[in-house]
């Protein structure tokens, strides 16, 4: 009998291509729908951040309530490297990834044997500590004012160099990074490694009893997540042309949690992307009507947790399953694992 495990072994999926198509052509239609170039850039960067974050929350079930701190660290690392070592785009980003991953690895050493509330509060505490240190260490980070004058370095390939000054230029560079990140993360979550971390989310104890080194897997996931976050942080610093401490606060660390869950990070790879887009839509559309939009967003989050923790992606999957059932009404219903899109 032909085995049909639901791990998608494809490198590309339809959803992925749709996402690439939409975001690849964004500069062409963004202003047509009444938005502006910078928001496209910021959304895409936060999508990268959210994808990295969802490795922890949606896939491994580890709630990190201090992840904004790592985004900040990535930004500061990028800025510091630029100013103090060399204004090189590639090395700067690599440095941001490395430093953030290092911090993540260090934090993960302390927390990887925990889960649930202990884990959450530890990440919260680390986040607050980093936030505090960043606010006070004015000589390194510029304190409350931030690290200013971070440049959008040119993408220099040796034989040709592209200026990333313009929002759309930086946007396309970010898009390239986005594509690579998606491909890498998609491979990761569909590999044996991905299978194990998904199992850890369902039943950590049993996974340990099967002989897996659960501590190591959790440590690795956290570090990888921080590496991706550092990358996003470096890009964000370039987009803002500065690295600011606010993003390390609890509020922003909280927002990424809300974004990812509402989007459906628990059941879908793309949940993080959907959630980020929804957040920005809420901010920019609801925001024109009322200053209290964040309150409504928070309430929406609570409703989602209460009634549909699978989020928007979950509702989409339900819809697809419903249509499939109606279409194939003659086939006896057998519950199959929803292919994790």
């Amino acid at each position: 009998m032909r085995h049909m495990i639901a791990i998608t072994s494809n490198w590309f999926t339809p959803q992925m291509l749709v996402a690439f198509a939409i975001f690849g052509t964004l500069p062409l239609w963004l202003e047509g729908v009444g938005l502006y170039s910078y928001i496209g850039l910021e959304v895409l960067i936060w999508i990268i951040f959210a994808l990295g974050f969802n490795l922890l929350l949606g896939y491994t079930g580890l709630p990190s309530f201090g992840h904004g701190a790592f985004l900040g660290i990535g930004g500061y690392a990028m800025g510091w490297f630029q100013i103090n070592v060399a204004p090189n785009l590639w090395l700067g980003l690599l440095f941001a990834i490395a430093i953030t991953a290092l911090f993540g690895a260090a934090v993960a050493l302390f927390i990887s044997h925990r889960r649930g509330i202990y884990f959450a509060l530890l990440t919260l505490a680390f986040g607050q500590v980093f936030f505090f240190v960043a606010s006070k260490w004015t000589t390194l980070t510029g304190g409350e004012d931030g690290m200013l004058n971070i440049a959008r370095l040119p993408a220099d390939f040796g034989f040709v160099s592209f200026s990333l000054q313009h929002n759309y230029a930086l946007y396309y560079f970010t898009f390239a990074v986005f594509v690579v990140t998606v491909l890498v993360l998609w491979r990761l979550v569909n590999s044996p490694f991905g299978k194990v971390i998904k199992a850890i989310k369902q039943n950590e104890m049993r996974v340990g009893f099967l002989g897996y080194n659960v501590y190591f897997f959790k440590w690795a996931v956290f570090t990888i997540s921080c590496a991706v976050t550092g990358l996003a942080g470096g890009l964000f610093a370039m987009a803002q042309e500065g690295a600011y401490v606010q993003v390390m606060s609890l509020q922003w660390s909280g927002i990424i949690v809300l974004m990812t869950l509402i989007g459906g990070g628990f059941v879908s790879f793309w949940g993080a992307l959907i959630g980020t887009v929804v957040y920005y839509l809420a901010r920019d559309i609801l925001g024109t009507f009322t200053e209290t939009w964040l309150l409504w967003y928070g309430l929406m989050f609570m409703l989602v947790v209460m009634f549909k923790p699978e989020g928007i992606a979950g509702m989409w999957q339900d819809g697809v399953a419903y249509l499939n059932r109606r279409r194939g009404a003659g086939i006896p219903p057998v519950a199959v694992e929803p292919a994790r899109e």
Binding site: P63, F65, I117, L121, F126, Q128, L295, F301, V305
Partner: protein, 309 residues
Amino acid sequence: MDFLFNLLPHLVNGIALGLLFALIALGFMLIIGVMEVINLAHGSLFALGAYMALVIVTPEGGLDAPFLEPWFGIGIIPRYIAALVIAPVIVGVFGMGLELCLRRTYGKDPLYGLLLTFGAALVIEEGIRIIWGHGEYVLPVPKGIRGGFIFADLIWSYYRFFAAAFSIVMIGALWCFIEKTPYGAIIKAGAHDNEMVRALGINLPKLRLFVFAIGTALAAIAGIIMAPIWGIRPQVGVDAVVPAFVIIVLGGIGSFWGAVIAGLMVGMIVGLTAAYYSDWSLLSMYLLLLAVVTFRARGLMGKVSVLER
């Protein structure tokens, strides 16, 4: 010797802080004990209590209407007392609302309950920001407990003594309630064994509502008393839930006096840090949390605590 002597006022501050932390922790613990829910919104409700008191005590809290002027004209003591009574009740109602929301998450992965209270904390904090803004408010207190005095060449604060005394009274009252009244006995039983309580015919949903109401009201009271010490800001919530957590990890869930003693310890550490590095006193709490959770294995009992599921 002199140096130690100079520390005395700070010790008193530390004790006052510690007793207040213990009060927050006890409310937090009641909820964990009976419902096995970690209420991350506990801190925001602590903050809300302070804001509610602000509204009652001074027109700056927002009740600026002319027809309310007579209320703000009467002496501050009745207003303050009214605040101490009414604000916790209002917050208790919010607490009950939160419990109703949490009902959908019972029986599921505890991660959802955690996320829900996290969301509630953010919502409450954002609500506070919207109504009262980002700035810091000052809660007026009766003259008798305001200000400082000099004794033995040291500067002491009346308010800290008041705070400590009030907390002792509240903690004592809570203890009497739990140990001596039938309601308290039910709560203890419920904390011990949900099934048994249900079998005894006690209305579990009502018990849960009640416990949430009391637990959050305690947080509100602590918030009101803490207001002159920490100031009234929207972010003060997070700073309140962390010591509560540290205290129950140190003192063990289910140990009333363990919480009080742990509270005093935490309060002393924070208070003494404030003496030297006032900026760092809040940070010391987070570092303490990291230290305590890293080095202290599981709760006290050796069995898997609810915190680890």
